[in-house]
């Protein structure tokens, strides 16, 4: 809540910065090459977002152990039948670090996210990352992560790029409010060419806040609703920078002990800091996850997205289908 208040307090400043950036963008002349580069950067942002290794609906970072019952029985002459049950307690062994890597292969129906002349392609998008989530209090966790993902296209190799992400923030659980989760943090995203990570063509600094409310249905199902707000505070080049406001609803079900299926529908409003462009995107992600071991899993994911912009040239529809092998190690 503190972070929400902080953002609310500085909302005017953020809007002001965004306005100045927009004015500068309008005033400064952009040549055709720059415009093309900007559009590519903007599309790369979308492609990175749509093809990014999908995050599952959140899981509690703790393994709570409960198990109490208030019914008692009087002792009987046969008490010793069972034997004495000396209760043991499992000491908590919280593992704050998670290393993850994934090797997805995907098909996309609209490689360049264009309105007309759609072209399909196949992609290989390996990723690697590490996350550190220190437990500050019982309900407050830190979250620091670094990740790098590469996007290699089969038919349109000129679109290859890489995305580097840094996140630092806090996650706060409110058990009294239906395990409501609140998160706030700082995100840094840097897009480069895939063969030269020093060849940056876009970078963005943003503040993110969000919340998620889970509703468990029995042991195997969960519905989640939530919202995320992403305020871009600095970008290079500036024009493709945008603020994202999105809401989502998700459903996950454990079909077996190893197989989980989930669906997430998200509506996002993308308010570009440049010249009044606003997009509304609808994204439906369907995924299945099969866990071979605690640390190795196979995933299948499909995303269907439609983008409706107030600049018709940016409208597009796309479908992505993919499969991945993922490694997840906690330590």
């Amino acid at each position: 809540m503190t972070h929400l208040r902080f953002l609310g307090k500085h909302r005017g400043v953020l809007i002001g910065i965004g306005f100045i950036l927009a004015v500068l963008a309008l005033v400064l002349p952009l040549d055709a090459q720059t415009v093309q580069a900007v559009n590519q950067a903007g599309q790369a942002q979308d492609r990175a977002e749509l093809l990014r290794t999908p995050a599952t609906l959140r899981e509690d970072p703790t393994d709570e152990e409960t198990g109490t019952d208030s019914s008692h029985a009087v002792a009987s002459p046969n008490d010793p039948d069972l034997g004495e049950q000396a209760i043991l307690k499992r000491a908590e062994n919280y593992q704050a670090f998670t290393f993850y890597t994934s090797a997805p292969i995907s098909y996309t129906s609209n490689v360049a996210l264009t309105r007309n002349g759609e072209e399909y392609d196949f992609l290989f998008t390996p990723s690697v990352g590490i996350n550190y989530a220190p437990r500050i209090t019982r309900t407050l966790y830190g979250s620091i992560s670094l990740s790098q993902q590469f996007f290699y296209y089969d038919r349109f190799g000129e679109l290859d790029f890489a995305s580097f992400d840094v996140h630092a923030g806090l996650v706060y659980y409110l058990p009294a409010l239906h395990n409501l989760l609140l998160r706030a943090g700082y995100d840094f995203n840097r897009l480069t060419s895939s063969d030269d990570l020093g060849d940056e063509f876009f970078s963005d600094h943003s503040f993110v806040v969000g919340g998620e409310l889970p509703f468990r249905i029995g042991r195997a199902q969960q519905i989640s609703v939530g919202a995320d707000f992403d305020f871009s505070v600095a970008a290079d080049p500036e024009p493709p920078a945008r603020h994202d406001y999105s809401g989502f609803v998700g459903y996950s079900v454990n079909l077996t002990r190893a197989l989980t299926a989930s669906a997430v529908a998200r509506i996002a409003i993308r308010d570009y800091v440049e010249d009044g462009r606003t997009d509304v995107s609808g994204i439906l992600a369907l995924s299945a996850n099969y866990r071979f071991t605690k640390w190795l899993s196979a995933n299948a994911i499909s995303t269907f997205a439609t983008n409706d912009s107030n600049r018709d040239v940016f409208d597009y529809d796309v479908a992505n289908l993919g499969a991945a092998l993922s490694l997840n190690l906690r330590f």
Partner: protein, 268 residues
Amino acid sequence: MLGLALSLFVGLAVVRGAVVSEGPGGRLTRITKGVQLAPVRNAPLRTASLHDRIADGGSIRTGAEARAEVTFPDGAVARFGGKSVGGLGARAQVIELKEGAVLFQAPKGTTRMKVETGGITVEARGTTGIMERHENLYVKILVLEGTARVFTNKVGESILVTPGQMLITKPGTTTLPEAVHFDLGHLYKTSLLVNAGFAPLARKNEILRAIKEQESDPALIRTNLVIYGRGTLVNLVAPTPAASPSARAASSAAAQASPGLVPTTRRK
């Protein structure tokens, strides 16, 4: 007259034998004190004898301090404790517990054994465990070795209970709680269903291995809470510094040598 009686006796024995042979069932391999048996479904209870057959659908009732062991053709075992009412289900390898306690052991590589009570089912294969039920108050499930799948009638409500874990819930529940840990070695040494005049369990080595594994788990810490035998009454015993696995093992052995842990306070 004697001939008629003899004919009737022989006839009844043949009919009884034919009926008892319905379904695979099992055989009573150990009985202590008052054990009553209905060898087939809806048959009247009669005093059981050693080696009596019990068909699927048959039932068993044990008196106070009585025990009965049923052994199945594949080597699976069900040991009923005192004041227990149970039997075999209509399907093979299903044990129904209505009241009391039953130790079950299902060998590996055979049909899954199911132990049912109050809408709660324990599915076992390569597993030894104990299920206890008292009226409509509680159901307790303890696993000694192997893994038991416990589930209710609600779709998706299923958990795995591993060696040294105990689950306490209510009959008729649809939502299962998480399991808690208990000292497996101490229970093994103090349980009459394991020790009291019975032959050693076929999967004894697996139980001893599970005890060893639990004792070497540094994350498990001894508490001063004990449930003495049946029920859910938790007793507060004198605090013990035996937090490490080796100390816990030593403490467990000491507790076995003495009549039992000494309760200081009882609380509900």
